[in-house]
Amino acid sequence: MHNTPSKYQLICGMEVHIELKTKSKMFCGCKNDPFGAAEPNIYTCPVCLGMPGALPVPNKKAIEWTLKLGLALHCKINLFSKFDRKHYFYPDLPKGYQISQYDIPFCYDGYIKTSQGRVGITRIHLEEDTGKLQHTTIQGEKVSLIDFNRSSVPLVEIVTEPDIHSGEQAKEYGKKLRDLVRYLDIADCDMEQGGMRLEANTSLQLSEVARTTPDLLPNYKVEVKNINSFRFLEQAIKFEADRQALILDKGETPTQETRGWNSLKSETFAQRSKESAEDYRYFPDPDIPPIHFTQAQIDALQAELPELPEIVIARWENEFGIEPRYSELLLSQTEYRAVWEGLFSTSKKDQLNTNQLASLIVNKKISLSLDTAILISAFKAQTTTTSIDESELAGVISSVIAENPNEVSLYKAGKINVLNFFIGQTMKKIGKKIDTALVKTELEKGLR
């Protein structure tokens, strides 16, 4: 099941950052559109530039969206929460601290189901993004420029339990999370641009130990950062599992460090050592009053949630007999959900094979339309068969057999696949859409 040498069990937790697509930034009224900005530093103000005297005012929408994400991930919500300051110096961090959440995140204790088991969500918190550094050369001089368009864009961080045990599972987790976030319509998750950023904390445990004491974590952790695709995530985790296994086999412990992913060489590389925990000197941001929610507010947000994909998938399977794999693909584009819903109801009423209909749409055998009537008639045209006179069919079959002596001998020699050739020829000759199964039976009789 895992690519990891079976001697070891991969222990992996993920940290995913997603930029919310609110109209304005997290703590000021500036436009939240860092990727669409025509020039650097056009969406800035004293607040997101960290000017003296400027004060943050939290974006209500961003908080609501974070709670919605939490509810959709089965999280519990802290009715009392707050923002904290996280201190570190970096040129893209204009205040010398990032406004984040420390000990009381908005959401905690949720999960996502994957085909390889449930992945626990430890916490979801809301924070502000930093500016972006650009290292370049101007008139022969190497310079670092800062673009603050991204400074203070709302950023949610979703942290999982170390429940992931393979690269495939990590990829599945990431995709499910992205699909859900898009389904909730709260972020674009553009990975290329950095709208969704993946980090995996990986380590290996002896399989024997993992089995007997599943709660015992390894004594080291390797963080792989700056991964911008799910494929790379899977590759990076597999690479790490193999790399760490070699080190452990030698009786050594892998270095606790942060590693990057080199997609050209398909390998991870050491970035910085993380032997000791950094001290961010967290304390509650005195500029932002603590935030209280009532249970009624949370209930209202819960009620506003659209029917979640996993529930829709189960219902579609029940109601329409649609296989989950088709539903999953159909639901990855939120905006068409209502169209499919209407289409499948009609299809059911017309007593059509709705699963086949879903399959044809997913496989792009029916050209996409938002009009239910058009889709239904296209489906009927492709699948409805006309009846055929038995003697007419018998006549066509004998002529097909007579015209292809070579294929007949192949068939008789045991190459049963040739039957498909005969089916094709027969259908072509008849020129009508007829029941393939009938043709097949009749051909088998004729060839005997």
Partner: protein, 459 residues
């Protein structure tokens, strides 16, 4: 001589055409220039400016208002008295500055202060110490020392100050003027160079209580840019003036506190006056303010170390080597108290004790309408006192710290003048949250019943 009039007199005089707005400005400018020579009041001196007569119809009628140099003024250098910001020209103005300008006040110089508001004497200023106009050998107090001195020296008509714990009331007490620190959240902090964000409160320093009521009316109000401002409605605070205080219950704090013996008699006189006015005054026992020193020091240093992190030399101003000794000490202590393993022992614990102070006041206000206490434990000390005393400010501000930590409004009014030294003592009146009306009512009644206010006794 127009510079010696009060804000109220200036507004009325201009509106009633007793004198022109430019005469008012010209006289005040002459006085300010002279005061600057004598007392080093301003970081940016007021300059001769053409005043627009359209201002006459505004509430503040174009009156010259001095502004503490930690309040951002667009396009006008704002240093917070630190060399780090020597060349910092803000791209925007503080909300409180904009509000005063909208009401028709004219920014009239930027006043000296302790650098970053760290101190209670202006001695940590990178632009020299301000002298007390009442007696230039003595300190004006701080951190709003420049604003208090400007008012005392008639170098402006009124001034904006800021207080974190005592920074308005202490210099007002030592300079013999009125200093009002509103409820935390009553006046926007947006555009004020942050010191300790959880207690910073902009307020006014004025010649009379009436002037304080006028200033507060135009400074207060909810600001969408400051999430900690309240949506409480803002009344016309002058409507609480001229009322009697018959039957009001007043608690007198710190009667038993060691160290106040030498000044206590003057406060017994205050009590007699208040009783004559019909109030009942009783000594109350309050939580020992010595605890507030530790609590305030820990919380303030922690917040300071965080708030000063942005001055990294990358975007504006000079680099970190330009921080003075006091700022460096505070950054180090604050960094330490917020560090992993220490935050619980210091910052978190201090916040718990802060809650005890809040509860203590809540209990007292169940019985008393307002509380009174000496503003400071002593008269203004000689200049140089803060040198070598890292905790000078915290000790001097001790009597302010409990109410500052709990966000309560307070006002200092002059209540004694020593005829030999010409130095003043102040009365600190403290009211429940959002009850500036009570402060003004009591302060106004006392001011009118006594002769300690220089401008009232001259009037």
């Amino acid at each position: 001589m127009l510079h010696t009039i009060t804000l109220k007199q200036a507004i009325d005089g201009v509106k009633q055409k007793k004198f022109s707005l430019s005469e008012l400005h010209a006289d005040t400018l002459t006085a300010a220039q002279e005061a600057q020579q004598n007392y080093n009041i301003f970081v940016s001196e007021p300059r001769a400016q053409e005043v627009n007569n359209a201002l006459i119809s505004t509430p503040l009628a174009g009156a010259p208002i001095a502004v503490k140099d930690n309040c951002l003024t667009q396009g006008q250098t704002t240093t917070a008295s630190s060399k780090v910001l020597e060349s910092f020209s803000p791209a925007y103005s503080a909300t409180v500055v904009e509000k005063i300008q909208t009401a028709g006040g004219v920014v009239f110089g930027k006043t000296n202060m302790d650098a970053w508001a760290h101190g209670s004497s202006t001695e940590t200023s990178d632009y020299g110490t301000t002298k007390n106009p009442r007696n230039p050998a003595h300190s004006p107090g701080g951190s709003s020392g420049g604003s208090a001195a400007a008012v005392a020296a008639n170098a402006c008509i009124a001034a904006i100050g800021t207080e974190t714990a005592g920074s308005i009331r202490l210099p007002a007490a030592w300079c013999g003027v009125v200093g009002l620190k509103p409820t935390y959240g009553r006046v926007s902090r947006y555009g004020i160079v942050a010191m300790a964000s959880s207690t910073d409160s902009p307020g006014s320093i004025t010649k009379t209580v009436e002037d304080a009521a006028i200033m507060l009316t135009h400074m207060a109000g909810n600001d969408p840019l400051d999430g900690t401002t309240s949506s409480q409605s803002v009344p016309d605070f002058t409507s609480f003036l001229g009322k009697n205080i018959q039957g009001l219950k007043i608690g007198f704090m710190y009667e038993d506190l060691a160290g106040l013996e030498s000044i206590l008699d003057h406060y017994h006189d205050v009590i007699s006056v208040l009783e004559t006015l019909g109030a009942t005054v009783k000594a109350v026992s309050a939580l020992d303010p010595h605890y507030a020193i530790s609590v305030y020091t820990i919380i303030q240093r922690g917040e300071v170390s965080s708030n000063l992190a942005r001055y990294d030399g990358i975007r504006y101003g000079h680099d970190r080597s330009y921080f003075g000794a006091e700022a460096q000490r505070r950054i180090m202590l604050g960094t330490y108290t917020l560090s992993k393993g220490y935050a619980d022992q210091y910052y978190t614990l201090a916040q718990k004790v802060r809650t005890l102070f809040r509860q203590d006041f809540e209990k007292l206000f169940e019985e008393y309408d307002v509380l009174i206490a000496p503003t400071t434990p002593s008269f203004a000390p000689k200049i140089g006192i803060a040198e070598g005393q890292a905790m000078f400010g915290e000790l001097a501000d001790m009597l302010q710290e409990p109410s500052s930590l709990t966000g309560l409004p307070g006002i200092n009014i002059p209540c004694f003048r020593d005829t030999t030294t010409n130095l003043f003592l102040g009365l600190n009146i403290i009211a429940p949250l959002w009850r500036e009306d009570l402060l003004l009512q009591v302060a106004d009644a006392y001011e009118k019943a006594t002769e300690w206010n220089s401008w009232r006794s001259h009037a």
